[in-house]
């Protein structure tokens, strides 16, 4: 999940009786599964929640280029280099789709990016972990994109039309990345040396828990979920999505011949699900607050890119104005 803790600003979900006629018509439309479109009336809190969620999602795509950019200059073969470059290019494209979807809500892309750079807006906690060996490129594709897909597949049915349509397009490319990531790990496990197999297990050990944290706080600690679910922005709870991810990922882990860094992970016949150990929520909130291993570096890199690029963007604007002037004269 690329947007894992989104404030709704709403303390309690209103019943239909408590709503104004406009609010009630809106809720009935949501309940009838009719998509909300940019020109439709919507409660301000719905609009603001979506702006926060979609911008968080967009920021995650952009910041998410950095852990991979760390290895694109060091990819071990031409094929892997090409795959990684294509993936990074897709991510920049996803960021642009999402910023466009966000702009249909009346938000401004530059203003939202400024919030990211000043630490007011969040992005996925996962991208605050460093990529320390080549297997991380496989593990990020498999686990991180895998977790994102579990969430995004459900978001294809989210109630806001432009967001839902962005998810449909993005999911197609993400699934491809996930398979490529898994194939990187499988190649290293099947045909690799012991050193390579160790890299794979090391990558999984470091990224397993952070990937599980991508689904956000447990349902008991998700004060915003009830309203997001009532608005059908969210379609499944954090814990349900996390469980779904674990259930589908553990067999893939076993197929690789690797293990999870979780002694409590085991199949529960009665529940028909995997049981798993406790998540370190202290770490989760620390990372989200900006105190994870790479938070400072990630934001510093993005801020520097935009600041160093200011003169380039100004030049483009100035040149476009000059050209327009010339055309007017001619």
């Amino acid at each position: 999940m690329y947007a894992q803790l989104v404030e709704t600003g709403v303390k309690r979900v209103k019943s239909l009786e408590e709503m104004s006629p406009e609010e009630r018509a809106f809720q009935e439309r949501i309940d009838a599964e009719i998509k909300i479109e940019p020109k439709n009336w919507m409660p301000d809190a719905y609009r603001q929640t979506l702006i926060r969620q979609i911008s968080q999602h967009a920021h995650s795509e952009i910041v998410g280029m950095l852990p991979e950019g760390n290895w694109v200059t060091r990819a071990p073969t031409l094929k892997r280099k090409l795959q990684l470059m294509a993936k990074i290019q897709d991510e920049a494209g996803h960021g642009m789709y999402l910023y466009s979807a966000m702009e249909t809500l009346g938000a401004d892309r530059d203003a939202e990016i400024e919030k990211l750079h000043s630490g007011k807006a969040k992005y996925s906690s996962i991208f605050n972990y460093p990529t320390l060996n080549w297997a991380d490129m496989g593990a990020v594709g498999w686990l991180v994109d895998g977790a994102a897909i579990v969430n995004q597949v459900v978001l294809q049915r989210t109630s806001y039309g432009p967001y839902s349509r962005a998810m449909i397009r993005i999911c197609k490319e993400e699934s491809f990345h996930q398979r490529q990531g898994y194939e990187i790990l499988l190649t290293m496990m099947r045909h690799g040396t012991q050193a390579q197999k160790d890299m794979v297990q090391d990558a999984i050990n470091r990224l397993w828990w952070p990937a599980l944290m991508m689904f956000g706080p447990s349902d008991a600690d998700s004060p915003n979920s009830a309203q997001s679910m009532a608005w059908k922005i969210k379609r499944m709870s954090n814990d349900d999505l996390r469980q779904r991810f674990i259930d589908q990922t553990v067999p893939q882990l076993e197929f690789l011949g690797c293990t999870a860094p979780d002694p409590d992970l085991k199949w529960n016949e009665e529940r028909g699900h995997y049981d798993f150990g406790p998540i370190n929520w202290q770490e989760f909130y620390d990372v989200l607050k900006g105190n994870g291993p790479c938070n400072r570096e990630r934001i510093a890199t993005r801020r520097k890119a935009i600041e160093d690029g200011a003169w380039v963007r100004e030049a483009a604007v100035a040149h476009a104005a000059k050209r327009q002037q010339k055309q007017k004269v001619a």
């Binding site: 950095l66 073969t77 690799g192």
Partner: protein, 254 residues
């Protein structure tokens, strides 16, 4: 054919190394470009170039027939064996340096691939024809940026002039031919260096006029020659980073 084989391998490595080293520099921009659109564009161009490098290396590896494959040519040769022009190994600098570097290279690349599309070597003609479509886009893009920066704000113009001043000395090495290329061009296989240089000069003059930038005097030779593996000090470090995994784990499958 056998007369030309060694020449041909050398020439293919030059084409491959030019594309790969240029692509590697573009990878360094990841996450650092001045706008999201540019993140996409730079990675897109880089992807095209690394793809082209792979095509040239695969052909070279077949001719070499010494057990090395395209990856070994890319990741296991030292800087003295690399054949890329000096221009593409230069550091990215600011966006004006990257833009000028791309434009000078793209213009050379376009005219070279145009000529190679008509090569008597069918394999070269096919690779060039495919690359030509990509490079047509590269040149349009880098040319537009030279114009935007050259004729944008005072600041962007100052930087563009500085970038041209910084890079112009490497255009001699970009354009110069040698006996190997001459022999291959004579056989109708390679591009003729002089015709490419003339077309390149025309492209630069045309664009510089639109961007109201002065065209410097032709650059002169200055004792280094990428084609002979005599590089600037930048290439060794670029290769150390790019080749690290293949060097550290030489028997690995990735």
């Amino acid at each position: 054919m056998t007369d030309n084989k060694n020449d041909l391998i050398e020439y293919l490595l030059r084409l491959g190394d030019n594309a790969l080293v240029n692509g590697q520099r573009l990878c360094e921009w990841c996450g650092r470009a001045p706008a999201l659109e540019e993140e996409m564009a730079l990675m897109n161009v880089g992807l095209d170039l690394v793809g082209q490098a792979r095509n040239w290396y695969e052909y070279a590896a077949e001719l070499l027939a010494d057990g090395r494959d395209a990856d070994q040519l890319a990741f296991r040769r030292d800087e003295r064996a690399f054949r890329n022009c000096l221009l593409v190994e230069q550091p990215n600098g600011d966006y004006a340096v990257t833009t000028a570097k791309l434009f000078f290279f793209d213009a050379w690349h376009l005219h070279t691939l145009k000529a190679l599309s008509a090569s008597r070597d069918a394999r070269i003609a096919a690779i060039a024809a495919k690359g030509l479509k990509e490079v047509t886009y590269h040149l349009r893009r880098s040319g537009e940026w030279v114009e935007r920066l050259g004729d944008g704000t005072e600041e962007s113009r100052r930087r563009m002039l500085a970038a041209i001043d910084e890079l112009w000395r490497f255009t001699h090495d970009l354009l110069a031919g040698d006996e190997i290329q001459q022999r291959l061009a004579g056989a109708g296989i390679a591009a003729d260096a002089e015709s490419v240089a003339a077309a390149w000069q025309a492209s630069v003059e045309q664009l510089f006029e639109r961007a109201s930038l002065p065209v410097p005097q032709p650059a002169s030779y200055f004792y280094l020659d990428g084609k002979r593996g005599l590089h600037t000090e930048h290439l060794g470090i670029l290769l150390a980073e790019m080749q690290f995994l293949q060097r550290a784990y030489p028997d690995a499958t990735w």
